[in-house]
């Protein structure tokens, strides 16, 4: 007898890959490793995003458990997962961080945000006014797993606290972002 949650389902993954040789293959490895069955790959080579990434759409079949492992595996491999399945990463969140962003290592901040469970960074816009060497601001667009908004914001608060950055959160009363 097979239980409902062990049923194989079809999922769509939207990834954004760095424009470098081997990236596509690297992005498929976690899918194979965690037992996903590839159905199709749509590699939008000519359609580079404003940030210079190449969008890829992958259709796979997997059990829900395996699918979760695949998404985790992709994130661990540093691959941008924009959309996973129909429900995951359905909440779009914007935050602004301000302070000594550059001095406190912007890429480390980014890595920390990316390491947050249930969220991925989809866009960054940095504003470092000329003549000011210290205070700069950045807007981060995040895709959060549905229902995980509060958890993701709590993680952002911790990162901001640790790096002494000012965080402007979106208004989310009543579940809106």
């Amino acid at each position: 007898m097979s239980e409902v949650h062990n049923d194989v389902q079809a999922y769509t993954l939207r990834l954004e890959l760095v424009d470098e040789p081997g990236e596509l293959l690297r992005s498929l490895q976690p899918i194979a490793e965690h037992g996903g069955n590839l159905l199709s790959i749509f590699h939008e080579r000519g359609n580079v995003t404003p940030r210079g990434y190449i969008p890829v759409e992958v259709d796979i079949e997997a059990t829900p458990d395996r699918f979760d492992n695949i998404v985790e595996g992709l994130s661990d491999a540093g691959i941008n997962v924009i959309q996973a399945g129909t429900e995951r990463y359905s909440e779009r969140l914007t935050i602004i961080l301000s302070g000594h962003l550059i001095e406190t290592d912007l890429s480390d901040t980014l890595t920390q945000i990316e390491a947050t469970r249930n969220a991925t960074v989809t866009d960054i816009s940095l504003s470092a006014p000329a003549g000011s060497i210290d205070v700069s601001s950045a807007r981060f667009q995040l895709a959060a797993a549905s229902g995980a908004t509060e958890e993701v914001l709590a993680a952002m608060r911790e990162i901001a606290d640790e790096k002494d950055l000012q965080l402007v959160e979106p208004l989310t009363v009543g579940g809106r972002a």
Binding site: I95, I96, S98, S125, S137, R139, E169, L171, V173
Partner: protein, 316 residues
């Protein structure tokens, strides 16, 4: 009704000026130094010009007002934190004499809500305080009409000065200090705008709403609110928000038994991003969904009209 008006600032003065129009007589009026009392009703123009010209409202000492013949005490002295004095004692005295009280002063309802309700329970008098949140906007009366227990969240902008500063920063790409100085020149911001920009004023209003929603189960004071101001925001942060169709406003959220005030990203043309000195609040309630109230909140005549509306409701 015969009104005893305490406080001769913008709100108290406007109450004295507008009372007759609403069919009420002001039988006593006091500032911190002096009082004027007349059982037949004071001449509004005369006492207000005396205050303007001589700096006092009359020749009697301030305490004299409590011996005057009045039905409703209008408490419009400046809001104070902590023990909420001297406003709280004024209210205490009026309730002990079984008179009704209408507050424009936020202190007693934000800092000593339980004490206030206890005094009211012992008195024949009733306390109303609709003017303390959003001035003329019918925020507390809407909550009262919907039923506090049916309201799940109240959030939005409740400070006109902070909202003016942020909307100017967004529109002109200017920095905080620059816009604040301009707001002071225009008379929108006071000489000492600390409570407006550090979130305290907004938080007091949020705490009052929380007290009303909790209906005596939990008492909230300013210490229970999580408060952050707008002083650290820069023009470039507003620019970044704008690139994404959003803006930053000083937002109070009263929900899940907590009060939180701070700058928040909100949709640029959304319900809680009013322009200039306007306030804008959303009330989420069972069955009726989201109710929005927007408009000019603070200001002498606006708040005075809310006070006089409360006086009307006392007679219902």
């Amino acid at each position: 009704m015969r009104l005893c008006v305490l406080g001769a600032g913008a709100v108290g003065s406007a109450v004295v000026e507008l009372a007759a129009e609403h069919g009420h007589a002001v039988t006593a009026f006091a500032d911190s130094e002096s009082a004027a009392v007349d059982a037949d009703g004071l001449d509004a123009d005369a006492v207000l010009s005396k205050k303007r010209d001589d700096g006092v409202v009359g020749e009697a000492p301030p305490e004299a007002v409590f011996d005057a013949a009045y039905d409703v005490l209008v408490e419009a002295t400046p809001t104070t934190l902590g023990d909420a004095e001297p406003g709280f004692s004024h209210v205490e005295r009026a309730l002990a004499d079984d008179r009704d009280v209408v507050l424009a002063n936020k202190g007693p309802v934000a800092e000593r809500y339980a004490d206030l309700r206890a005094l009211e329970a012992e008195s024949e008098g009733t306390v109303r305080f609709g003017a303390t949140v959003g001035g003329a906007l019918p925020i507390l009366s809407t909550i009262e009409d919907v039923g506090p227990s049916r309201v799940s969240a109240v959030y939005g902008v409740l400070n006109g000065t902070a909202n003016f500063v942020l909307s100017r920063m967004a529109a002109e790409g200017l920095d905080y200090e620059h816009v604040l100085a301009e707001a002071q020149d225009l008379g929108v911001a006071e000489a000492d705008p600390t409570f407006d920009v550090d979130g305290t004023d907004t938080a007091l209003k949020g705490v009052i709403v929380a007290n009303v929603l909790s209906d005596g189960e939990t008492e909230f004071t300013l210490d229970d609110a999580d408060v952050e101001g707008i002083q650290e925001l820069s023009g470039s942060m507003l620019d970044l928000a704008q690139e994404d169709g959003q803006t930053i406003r000083l937002i109070v959220e009263v929900a899940d038994g907590g009060v939180r005030v701070g700058p928040r990203l909100v949709p640029e043309n959304g319900a809680v991003a009013p322009s200039g000195t306007e306030n804008a609040v959303q009330i989420e309630a069972d069955y009726c969904g989201r109710l929005g109230i927007t408009g000019r909140g603070a200001g002498g005549p606006e708040t005075a009209s809310a006070v006089l509306t409360d006086v009307e409701r006392l007679t219902d």
